[in-house]
Symmetry: C2
């Protein structure tokens, strides 16, 4: 049903605001997503918020209405509120007209069907939420089967990661796994593990990829540890012509993923 | 000379902290860069800070010493301070051992030698400082001649942009120009203007690029305006296989730039 909340002191507002903090997200199993474009993409992918905060604006009338109707039909709460409260929940000055509180969801490794896609993205100890979200956005774009987060990666449900994913968090399966789980699973079926590395002479465009390709990106500052590199079927590098020795992790992943896509699509 | 500052209330500390704000940067013509890796890269590229803040740590002893020596030799101030003050100046919990205050520098459009590189990156109305810094980092990696910022782009000297550039701000020439200046300059010599667009059927890998290629990336939310697209010699798109209709702007720029690099290097 539609409720009306206009006070910052309202307990629902306070509880929702706390979801910006990782500990509260984990305890509640909930996270925040904002903006009409992302929430509409989520709805189309079958994800409705447990609670929807919205303001009525003429410009977005139709899509906001569709969200409110879907949330009500699902028996959840749609809360009409003010732009000030939306801004407070979002942490942005201009949060748009909707914010949704969603149940966290991850896909178990065992449920991934490796034959369903030609490319899979794998990241280990990714630290930056913007990079994680951007890699999810790229995963969607290249038709990746999913993003597998190895060991201690940043929270994919952080406000920054959700924002950078531009909705891809709702359309791309995300798996969390320890390396010790991932490696036996990978080797239990077909799959070429390709690592991005600075310590190889193999140019990424000269290499040959075979689907399903699992593209492994290492930690932003350190790259992947030697024992992971040793398990890769192929290590490749992206040429660096300038002074720096590495690309941004999300950029490097995308340059690689589009090369794999071009080869595996033929 | 080396000074010692340990009080947050010190006027140099307060003035430096204000450089995190765009208005103060512009008024002072100064900006902040942090981290030993970035400041060392700056030094090697010929840029020394007007003021250097540092802490003595055993791990980084040699490179910090080299920076302090260079700053003193140039007659500027090296200020030994505490980790707490560095953290306050940086806005990060773990800012590393050095922060430098640098004079802003831009390259005039007329000084760019288009024959000096095969790729040039051009961005119009770029809004996100992380994207700007990441594009600079990519520009360095692909050996671009420079980054040309068209119309109202985000400040390349913001803390976030400098950080995301990982030092490339000091190695890649940055130009600011209005479109009305850029276009006549471009047409006064050789150069293929290539625009990234969603409104074309030309796949970016099927197109042929000829150096010097000027790669134009539009605003994150809106893409480039029609009148700019109409001036492009070539419009190309990157395939999008998923639900979303666009990539992150820095990712799209990098995927394109590496394709141009592969073709122009042969």
């Amino acid at each position: 049903m539609i409720k009306h909340v206009t006070a910052f002191s309202n307990p629902i507002v306070k509880a929702t605001q706390r979801l910006r903090d990782k500990k509260h997200r984990r305890d509640a199993g909930l996270f925040l997503a904002e903006g009409l474009r992302i929430l509409t993409e989520a709805r189309e992918a079958g994800h409705l918020p447990e609670t929807l905060f919205f303001t009525r604006t003429t410009a977005d009338h139709h899509l906001v209405g569709a969200l409110v109707d879907a949330v009500e039909a699902a028996g959840s709460d749609a809360i009409e509120t003010t732009a000030d409260i939306l801004a407070k929940l979002s942490g942005k000055d201009n949060p748009g007209s909707v914010i949704g509180v969603y149940a966290e969801f991850l896909t178990p490794l065992a449920k991934m069907d490796r034959t369903s896609a030609e490319i899979w993205l794998v990241a280990e100890r990714l630290r930056d939420p913007g990079n994680l979200g951007t890699i999810l956005r790229t995963a969607d774009a290249v038709g990746a089967g999913g993003l597998i987060l190895i060991d201690d990666c940043v929270d994919p449900f952080s406000v920054e990661a959700v924002r950078a994913s531009m909705g891809a968090l709702f359309t791309v399966p995300v798996v969390k796994a320890r390396w010790e789980e991932f490696l036996p699973w990978l080797r239990s079926g077909p799959g070429q593990l390709v690592g991005l590395s600075l310590d190889t002479d193999s140019d990424y465009r000269a290499a040959t990829y075979s689907a399903p390709t699992f593209l492994l990106t290492g930690n932003e500052a350190q790259g992947m540890p030697d024992h992971m590199a040793a398990e890769c079927d192929l290590l490749v590098k992206i040429p660096m012509l300038g002074k720096a020795d590495s690309l941004n992790a999300a950029v490097a992943t995308a340059v690689m993923a589009y090369e794999v896509l071009a080869q595996t699509r033929g």
